[in-house]
């Protein structure tokens, strides 16, 4: 078991003929992911890495039975691509693209309400169920199957943490980055709910960062509803206020959204907070090994 993606996931790559799209199509295929179709409007009939290309996601669903999508479409067109996938009946969409306008995401979020499709990202590394399906751009070899779920607002920080967990001899059930933007699809609570119900997952690592209140909301949820052990790390303890730290959503506004505040709220909820990034793996081993 795992969450959201598994061996049966049939992937369509949106923006498959672009540089990123074609590179990661190859990478995902090499990992063993079932990439069954690609979409680039105007390029149906072509192939990328042996994968057939269609004009529309609807065609990819009809012809190849695609049920999850990964989006590499440029930022100006990515909001449209997300909605296209949702309308075509795709169940899980991972939007890798960075730089989507916030007000476009407001509309996308609204469009997804009441639909069965779920969105991961945008501005994220995607999702991986080790040994089964990589719907993302992460380096596959650092992951190994096992009992730990990982949820993160950051890409490379996730790799760092997963590498530590793997080196402690523990594998992962599913790992995903939820994206570094102010408005994103699935949030910490949505994913904790899925991990709570997943029998393969024994515990979860939650990696947060400055900006917004997602970590505070997660803390309250974990305290009341999440039965498994959780280890957290918050990036940006030394970030200056008012500056956008790489991610559009990573900004301390006035006094709110600081790492210190988030860590205090998590601790107060009885959740393990690791201050030194290099000690996350050890904490996971201690609590979940």
């Amino acid at each position: 078991m795992s969450i959201l993606v598994d061996k049966e996931s049939r992937v369509v790559v949106q923006g498959v003929t672009g540089k990123e799209g074609s590179f990661h199509t190859k990478q995902m295929l090499e990992y063993g992911t079932k990439v069954v179709a690609g979409v680039t409007p105007g390029k149906a009939g072509q192939q990328v890495e042996g994968v057939p290309v269609y004009h529309t996601v609807a065609d990819a669903v009809a012809e190849q039975g695609a049920n999850v999508s990964i989006i590499f479409v440029p930022p100006a067109f990515a909001p449209d691509a997300i909605m296209e996938a949702a309308a075509a009946g795709i169940g899980v969409m991972a939007c890798i693209t960075e730089g989507l306008p916030t007000l476009d995401m407001v509309r996308v979020k609204h469009y997804l309400k009441g639909r069965s499709a779920v969105l991961i990202g945008p501005n994220c590394p995607g999702i991986i169920t080790p040994g089964a399906c990589k719907l993302g751009i992460m380096p596959g070899y650092i992951f190994q199957p096992g009992p730990i779920g990982v949820i993160s607002r950051s890409g490379t920080l996730t790799y760092e943490v997963v590498d530590q967990i793997s080196k402690q001899g523990l594998g992962q059930s599913t790992c995903l980055g939820i994206g570094g933007d102010p408005i994103i699809g699935l949030n910490f609570i949505d994913l904790l709910t899925l991990f709570a119900a997943d029998p393969q997952t024994d515990g979860v690592v939650l990696i947060g960062e400055i900006g917004g209140t997602a970590e505070e909301e997660a803390a309250a949820f974990i305290k009341e509803h999440f039965p498994k052990p959780v280890v957290t790390f918050i990036a940006g303890q030394t970030a200056p206020p008012g500056r956008r730290m790489g991610h559009a959503g990573a900004i301390i506004s006035g006094k709110s959204g600081t790492a210190q505040e988030k860590m205090a709220v998590l601790k107060a909820a009885g959740i393990r907070v690791v201050v030194d990034l290099t000690k996350v793996g050890e904490a996971v081993k201690e609590l979940m090994g």
Binding site: T102, H110, P125, M138, A235, Q237, M245, L277
Partner: protein
């Protein structure tokens, strides 16, 4: 992206939101001209910098006579203004806004932000204008009225009425108040703002509504479709190294320490800064070269870090994913060949093609220290800086 108050007010005027008469000036003669165009005193002289708290810092002054005006202008123009948002080093005032003095009867607050949790814009209004809204939210949250904009149907007239009647405006101003709020929402949405604030929005003694101050921030991600907004950017407000980094799509932010930092990915970059500090060092910058950086991007990033004369040591922390370690190594080698490396360089590499990357670095003949773990790299760089 931020703009100045005078630019924000020009946008307000375009949207029919009333503002005081006034003009920006960069020299005393220009300021005098602006004042004379306004008619008789009082005048208000307002420092134009991208930071709040200008009043408390002495950057906003009222002048009752022309003589007083001249001395106020010479005090403020060219001063280094320190506010709670500028940091201790302050910001040099290169422009002032000269405005007519407005007789104030009532000060209100009106703002629009994106509510992240609800995923839609939220309008905030309060009778406590002229105060820091965060302070109001903290101490007297019940005094802030909020309306959320439904993405499907947009802002509705009843929401404007809810706000106006909560603000307790005189009956004669209800109609113009509703129009003002509606126009502010339009500005926020059409220009892809991340924040719009009128603080204070005043009722004048002769019963007019007026935006006495104005703050507009834009969503950087949407600037590609607002070329006219990009022209409002003031390069003097930006750190020269940050401007240089922008050219190469690098996320660079200047900090106060002396350890240069280059990392791939925003989260890992923040965490690396944290770690340096945890082990006793102080980062000189935040630099995220991005997930998919090329050798050229890496070289530019490295050059920018080294051009900061405060830097006493450099830590490069890369977890190769899309960015392969061999590409990183090529970039570093290329950059290092072009400069005389006068400070110690510590490199921590992990991830895709790490062996090839380490091999390239070893063969390059470059002088650097490769650290197997992040903890060791952070410790080492702190020690090196202290020793030098």
């Amino acid at each position: 992206m931020k703009i100045h108050e005078y630019q924000a007010k020009a946008l307000f005027a375009q949207y029919g939101i009333p503002i005081p008469q006034g003009r920006a000036a960069s020299s005393p003669p220009e300021a005098l001209e602006a004042a004379q165009a306004l008619g008789p005193p009082p005048y208000v002289v307002k420092a134009q910098i991208h930071a709040g708290g200008r009043g408390q810092g002495g950057g906003v002054k009222v002048a009752r006579t022309l003589d007083e005006f001249t001395s106020r202008v010479s005090e403020i123009l060219g001063m280094t203004l320190v506010t709670h948002q500028t940091g201790p080093e302050g910001k040099k005032v290169l422009k002032v806004l000269i405005e007519e003095g407005v007789p104030i009867a009532q000060e209100l607050y009106l703002g629009i932000v994106v509510d992240r949790a609800r995923a839609c814009p939220a309008i905030m209004a309060s009778r406590s204008g002229g105060m820091d809204i965060e302070e109001v939210a903290e101490k007297t949250p019940h005094l802030i009225h909020r309306e959320w904009i439904d993405p499907a149907v947009g802002f509705q007239a009843f929401q404007a009425r809810n706000i106006i009647y909560r603000l307790g405006l005189p009956a004669a101003l209800v109609k113009s108040g509703i129009a003002l709020i509606t126009q502010l929402v339009k500005l926020f949405e059409q220009l892809d703002c991340s924040l719009v604030e009128i603080n204070p929005l005043v009722v004048t003694r002769d019963d007019r509504l007026m935006a006495l101050d104005g703050k507009v921030n834009f969503d950087d991600n949407a600037l590609f479709r607002h070329k006219e907004i990009l022209e409002l950017m003031d390069p003097s407000e930006q750190d020269p190294l940050e401007l240089e980094a922008n050219k190469y799509n690098l996320n660079y932010i200047r900090l106060n320490g002396n350890i240069g930092v280059m990392v791939n990915g925003a989260g890992l970059a923040m965490a690396t800064m944290d770690l340096i500090k945890l082990y006793g060092g102080e980062p000189a910058n935040f630099l995220d070269v991005g997930g998919g950086a090329s050798a050229e991007t890496i070289a530019n990033g490295f050059r920018i870090i080294l051009s900061d004369e405060r830097v006493r040591a450099v830590l490069v922390n890369i977890f190769g994913g899309i960015l392969r370690c061999d590409v990183l190594a090529e970039g570093l080698i290329e950059a290092a060949r072009k400069v005389v490396l006068q400070v110690p360089l510590i490199i921590r590499l992990e991830g895709t093609n790490v062996d090839r990357g380490r091999e390239l670095l070893n063969q390059s003949g470059l002088d650097f220290i490769v650290s197997p773990t992040m903890a060791e790299a952070a410790k080492k760089v702190g020690q090196l800086v202290q020793r030098n």
